[in-house]
């Protein structure tokens, strides 16, 4: 069953050019999709359409097999069911955090759905604990950092235990550690069968939060829709839709150009070298740059695991695979050992982190 089915959707803001053009696609329940596109291509508008906040000028949207229209949402039963099943994490957390305290913010959704007071209290406490933000419970939103605001925004969206989570630019303004936290949370939600649809132009996180990618072009149509791994290898496509750019710079007296994106895992570098530019050390430097990026991200991830002592076998396996693919066999081995030997988990993770740190120093 599809969470959403969109047919020939067009949307435009009053008096402006269309934001979405003839959009037809489906989002399966339980799937993880990332909507990629440059700024202004209609990603956020699509999420607003999926959340029933705006409605298409032409075309139809079905949510869980039922038509999603303005009229349908005036029906209290339908509206309550839909709002319970679909949650939206806005790009700007200040917009979403309108209550006076974190506790009230998380309680807002369950209360609007007419849940009993005791159940609301339990839900809020559970969310605070699960997302490790209990210390923020009585804080006012304006006293929080951007990362903390994002955590609270996610907690408040998850409070109704939705089937579908929509995230608009989820990594906006997040430090590396909070990005890792976000990847972990989304991974866990996926394991629990939740549908996750994220809109971003940040390729560095996209591979961690989705298997499927829908790519929007700058003419507001779908340029590609398919497996994320395939799409990320398609330089021509990414260049055309303005997700990577040709980066020109100078090496001594030689000017050259290559393609550059910010995808840190299976990096899509290796663009065409111009004119008489040879395959000199720059390519290696560039790759080293991306290895460093992966290494840094992996170190942050390991530090997070060490700090929290969590046991996330699925995440560990995924990252062990990434380490292995990047040639970090020793690191991969330590992570696999951490999975196998839960008692010495922290020890193995610490060793993996130390290996990465040492290699980073050597590279420098």
């Amino acid at each position: 069953m599809n969470a959403f089915s969109l047919r020939n959707i067009a949307y435009s803001y009053a008096g402006s050019t269309p934001v979405l053009n003839d959009l037809t696609t489906d989002f399966a329940l339980g799937g993880r999709t990332v909507i990629l596109g440059a700024n202004g291509t209609g990603k956020s508008t699509l999420l607003s359409l999926l959340d029933g906040l705006v409605f298409p000028v032409t075309g139809t949207i079905h949510a869980f097999g039922k038509p999603l229209t303005e009229d349908a949402l005036t029906d209290r039963m339908f509206s309550m069911d839909f709002r319970k099943r679909v949650a939206f994490v806005f790009s700007n957390p200040d917009v979403q955090l309108f209550s006076s305290t974190v506790w009230d913010e998380i309680a807002f959704g369950p209360l609007q759905l007419d849940l009993p007071a005791e159940a609301v209290r339990d839900i809020v406490d559970h969310q605070l604990e699960t997302l490790r933000i209990t210390d923020l419970r009585d804080r006012a939103p304006y006293t929080l950092s951007d990362g903390q605001k994002k955590k609270v925004a996610i907690a408040s969206s998850l409070a109704t235990d939705p089937d579908v989570l929509l995230l608009d630019e989820p990594t906006n303004g997040l430090d590396p550690r909070t990005q890792v936290w976000l990847i972990e949370v989304l991974h866990e939600l996926h394991q629990r069968g939740k549908t996750i649809i994220s809109a971003t132009h940040d390729l560095s996180i996209a591979g961690d939060i989705a298997e499927r990618a829908v790519v929007f072009s700058e003419d507001h149509t779908i340029a590609a829709d398919g497996d994320f791994g395939d799409i990320i290898q398609n330089d021509e496509l990414l260049l055309r839709v303005n997700l990577i750019h040709e980066h020109a710079h100078q090496h001594g007296k030689t000017a050259h150009m290559h393609r550059h994106g910010h995808y840190g895992h299976i990096h899509s570098t290796g663009g065409t070298m111009h004119d008489n530019h040879k395959h000199h050390s720059h390519a290696d430097e560039h790759e080293h740059g991306h290895e460093n990026e992966l290494s840094i991200k992996m170190q942050v991830m390991l530090e997070h695991w060490i700090e929290h002592g969590d046991s996330h076998a699925e995440s560990y396996r995924e990252w062990a695979g990434k380490a292995s693919a990047a040639g970090e066999e020793e690191v991969a081995k330590e992570i696999y050992l951490a999975i196998a030997d839960n008692d010495s988990l922290k020890g193995h993770l610490k060793r993996a982190k130390a290996i990465l740190a040492a290699k980073s120093i050597l590279r420098k």
């Binding site: 309550m80 979403q96 309108f98 305290t101 506790w103 959704g109 209360l111």
Partner: protein
């Protein structure tokens, strides 16, 4: 200093003071007597005190009440000097315009103490009379002392309440006084987004300052200030639309539901009985021993 510099500095100073006074909540986060109280009881207690203060006629009784506010401040780890500054900043503002004429025999007839002006004769317009000697009267002075003492004591309790209570908690406490939920929520959302826009204004000023190479004319400065007021208004409109969407997204359908999270303990009731009881007894004694 040019007028526009003065305007710039004033606006930034207002933003800074508003941020400090509304959002720092330094004393509200301290571990003191008043900070520990249930907000409903605290709000009820302070309102009762302020109402009782209006019944006192003796300056001595009012000074005892003022002393009680200082004692409570001390028990709540609020520096006395800091509280005094806050109180005496407001008192002249509220009372000077009323008190100064009221001391004179033009407004309050009575036994003259100091003659300020001597006129050739008395003037009268219907029921209004300006005496030949304009003087401060004993009755006028006493009335003014009582008035200033009453204002100072009331303001002292009001400031003490705001200093020791986080705004978010204070707003939720209004629910206990049967204030409509929509009113309380609108108030708390206003306070919450005031901060966002104060930051926005500060950032705009800083961004402009960082790109200003030479002094600009006063006209350009004025235009810029006016345009930023417009921008802030536009942003607030855009944000309000987005906030409404965020509320809809989480099930809002025009009616607010909220949970009150109050936990009144015996110490809260003990405090209430003590301070209100003490004030009531003081009022009773005043009526017996002070005949005005």
């Amino acid at each position: 200093m040019s007028k526009t510099k003065f305007l710039d500095k004033s606006l930034l100073a207002v933003a800074k003071i508003a941020e400090q006074s509304l959002f720092s909540e330094v004393y509200a986060r301290k571990e003191g007597l008043l900070q520990r109280l249930d907000v409903r009881i605290k709000l009820f207690g302070f309102l009762s005190l302020i109402v009782l203060i209006s019944f006192f006629h003796s300056p001595y009784a009012l000074w005892i009440m003022y002393g009680m506010s200082l004692t409570l401040a001390s028990a709540s780890r609020v520096p006395i000097l800091f509280l005094q500054k806050r109180v005496w900043l407001f008192v002249p503002l509220f009372s000077a315009a009323v008190v100064l004429p009221a001391m004179l025999n033009i407004v309050t007839p009575g036994e003259p103490l100091w003659i300020l002006v001597k006129l050739n004769r008395a003037y009268s317009w219907g029921p209004y009379v300006i005496p030949a000697e304009i003087a401060v009267t004993r009755q006028g002075l006493l009335g003014s002392i009582i008035f200033v003492s009453r204002v100072a004591t009331s303001v002292s309790f009001a400031v003490l309440f705001t200093l020791t209570t986080r705004w978010t908690v204070a707003f939720s406490g209004l629910r206990a006084l049967a204030a409509p939920r929509i009113f309380v929520i609108t108030l708390s959302m206003t306070e919450r987004y005031l901060f966002v826009f104060l930051r926005l204004i500060q950032d705009m000023y800083r961004a402009r300052k960082s790109r200003t190479i030479r002094p600009l004319s006063a006209a350009i400065d004025r235009n810029w200030t006016a345009s930023r007021i417009g921008v802030t208004f536009k942003k607030s409109m855009d944000m309000s639309e987005d906030i409404y969407k965020a509320m809809l997204s989480r099930g809002f359908h025009g009616e607010f539901r909220a949970l009150d999270r109050f936990h009144a303990k015996p110490i809260d009731y003990l405090w209430l009985v003590t301070v209100v009881g003490f004030s009531g007894i003081l009022l009773f004694l005043e009526r017996i021993f002070f005949k005005g």
